[in-house]
Assembly symmetry: C3
Homo-oligomer: 377 residues x 3
Amino acid sequence: MRPDGVLPVELPDVVREALLAPLVDQSCHGVRRDDLTRARFETLLSETGVPAPPGTTHFDTPAGAAVRRWCAPVLDLPPHVPPAVYLARRAELGAAEVNRRLLGAAGIATFLFDDSAAPGGPEVLPPDEMGRTGGAGTVAVARIERAEEEVAASAVSAVAYVSALAQNLAARAARAVALKSVSAHRAGPHPDEARPSRGTVIAAAARRLARPGERLTDPVLLRHLLWTAVDVAREYGRPLQFHTGPTGSGTGFVVAVQPMGVPVVLLRCHPFHRRAAHLASTLPHVYVDVGAAPARGATGSATVMAELLESVPFHRQVFGSGGHGVAETCHLGALHYRRGLAGALAARLADGEWSVADAARVAQMIGSGNARRLYRL
Amino acid sequence: MRPDGVLPVELPDVVREALLAPLVDQSCHGVRRDDLTRARFETLLSETGVPAPPGTTHFDTPAGAAVRRWCAPVLDLPPHVPPAVYLARRAELGAAEVNRRLLGAAGIATFLFDDSAAPGGPEVLPPDEMGRTGGAGTVAVARIERAEEEVAASAVSAVAYVSALAQNLAARAARAVALKSVSAHRAGPHPDEARPSRGTVIAAAARRLARPGERLTDPVLLRHLLWTAVDVAREYGRPLQFHTGPTGSGTGFVVAVQPMGVPVVLLRCHPFHRRAAHLASTLPHVYVDVGAAPARGATGSATVMAELLESVPFHRQVFGSGGHGVAETCHLGALHYRRGLAGALAARLADGEWSVADAARVAQMIGSGNARRLYRL
Amino acid sequence: MRPDGVLPVELPDVVREALLAPLVDQSCHGVRRDDLTRARFETLLSETGVPAPPGTTHFDTPAGAAVRRWCAPVLDLPPHVPPAVYLARRAELGAAEVNRRLLGAAGIATFLFDDSAAPGGPEVLPPDEMGRTGGAGTVAVARIERAEEEVAASAVSAVAYVSALAQNLAARAARAVALKSVSAHRAGPHPDEARPSRGTVIAAAARRLARPGERLTDPVLLRHLLWTAVDVAREYGRPLQFHTGPTGSGTGFVVAVQPMGVPVVLLRCHPFHRRAAHLASTLPHVYVDVGAAPARGATGSATVMAELLESVPFHRQVFGSGGHGVAETCHLGALHYRRGLAGALAARLADGEWSVADAARVAQMIGSGNARRLYRL
């Protein structure tokens, strides 16, 4: 299925084709395959993860407005229908048909699937099924915190924890196209970027094994996990996907990784994408996920894309929908990326800053080419 | 008085009406009611709080340009008159008439008035008179640092300091629609967000009482003040208005407050409004004051409003003029908010992102509806 | 040579003339005068300072696209020629002619030249020759880290280090129009802004003299260097140019300098220019270099200039090309500044926010007037 009709501006054919070509989605999670109540749908749509406060609705958000505008027509409804009408139609079609339509119209060739989402219970589409539903292939991204949780639950000693962690990460890396971390920001605003010594790691692991079910917060073990992942990523030739926090925590670690030759991909940068862009402009191993930013931007997505195109080398921008929870998020991630980039390219063509061939080539690079090179797809 | 003629774009009638409807100004201070010298006027207009360096004038600022453009016509002058002409006309009309015109044309229904401004001396309009001058009602916001100063000046012991602080805050909360703090950024870039123990508070209070006239800078007492205010706010059902510093200090505290069920309103966010927007998008108890940002933005105010509409749920944005010092600031706060939101809404309508009803409803929510719900007006 | 034909919009003659008038470039470095290989040219063009990763080229960057678009016509080529064609023509003309064309067409009256660039080897144009090549005058800016390196290499004792540093800085200040620091961000994310005691400085200097060839990283000596420079700057009436890091390090120092009466000019602010703008809006001694920001922005440069005009007083914005390495960077710095400011002024005129005279005056102030006042040219 081709996402025709979503571009907001007239563009030369070659640019239009490059924008509408199938994408590599370098960051997505499983979406629900069961029918959802309004409360559940709203919570999944919201980044707060909780129901809307009394007197309010999560439909009164940028994401809610975008669902009504852009997803409604995919379900044969006019744009801007009230939330209740949208949800009634969603229930009428059933989740399977809704997912098939929304994921299919997203125009994605390959999903890079966060493997931590797999055990989301029977309500979440597993990777293969999500790929089939969207008419796409699926490859795995290994979340390193899952490796640590498994090891913390099973290691019989602190020494065994250390060796098992490296083995578990290696086994995951062998099956995945990238490693991914979501915990660096937990280590506090200015985590020491250096590798912790073996002695401090062993001591911290002993404390950790006494409370294996808890979320990992020990800064020594978080750093050990990150550096072990860097070693494994280097050995297997995998990039490391990485969340930075709103205060820029993790930045020192990104700098420290440079000599290791492991590419780092910064995820979910909006609204701090200018900081991510700065890192990418000064550090040759840093890539920026440009998808989640315009996904939120909607009408502002051309501005966000322009702010990225101003600073980040074009060969180090990669699309990711950031899809999660409901298929609408994946659909909107792809749609706003295409609309935002279309607007930014049109402005560059109108100003004479770029040639038509430049615009088409950059659209191809960000949409799929860079990801194919980086992840060896 | 209706602020007609200020919208920069054609809009459907229902959107136009929503934008021009009377506002709830959730953050303002008293303005001067005496006639002002040029030096005094310039200093009040500037955020630096000092006279302009030699060879320069504070009229060569965004605020100065806006006064000449937008306030001059309210005083029957053509736009862009030289500063000397503006100030001569201001003196000719007299401060009372100038305030009546500028505040009246701001189109504000209710001022939320920072009570710390009340004792600004005979030159500053007290709340009731400011309301009457602007044709508006007035309700109080209690600045918690004022409570602390009173208690520090009168408490006879450290133990009495602790109990008197809670009592003083409670008395203020009973008379106000919100509590407000301006001191969190003083606690340093990364204040520990936890409640300090009673023992450390008593010890710090003893030191404080030895130097009651000094500005409060002790991190333990600042945190104690904040947490006591949270307790009082919870008991009285009041939101807490809150300044965050340019480095994001205070962010940890905002996160820590979430379980208490006390709404937090982030003030004066520009040019860090994207950080505030991020907090609001991820934390359901966080509101963003959207007024002061476009007030400075002038021509850029539509961009600033767009950056807020991209991230912040629409039910958690509230207008505040940030008015202070001279009535021009209040007038321009309302004017640029309306112009900026008008521009952002027009872009969304032109792109087909929002329906006309959406645009009108969001304008009503941010301009007054959200504040009425939040502050129970 | 006049940079005609570079403005993207129609503007009243007086505004156009103000934009095209010769600039004072308050921040540039020497550029290469030898013929360059493609690898060397790409590395000099990139901010990473290293060759592009395999499979990529530094021409796929904002700077690379701008060279092909804007520098190619200066070398008699059509816009958007492939990199190989551009570099072949560059070699054909020879570096001397290329530099003469690109620097001349930049339309710069005076270069403020970072004196640390002087000993860049025979391949780098020295100040006087760069001025002649560009048809401009040249004055010096003294980099304080160079003074420290000289003193560390020659002082015979820690006590002598302290006195020699002050003398060396004074001698440089006498010959220069400003002092400049690039090291504050090395002192870590939150350098203590206070002056270190003489005792701690002597102790640190003794350690430093034991390893004089190393890069200065000692926080005590970095702070001592900065404060000594402030003293010298005050005595000689020189401003202090200053790099802030991406995490805002150095901000505390900027605040602490205020009572000294020494103007501070923030360099290379993009993409953190809104933080710089905030400092300048609240501190009367802070200036912002607005050149390097639009230089990177290209099509986005009008947005960047608008974000600066929203917050920074107009009398405290100064143009600097940030030129370094190759003449293309200097040419593009001036070109994108003029294009960006033209776009931002056109928007303000179209909205009726500013008068034509306002727009022309602000263009003159930022382009040269403020720098002439600040540096007493």
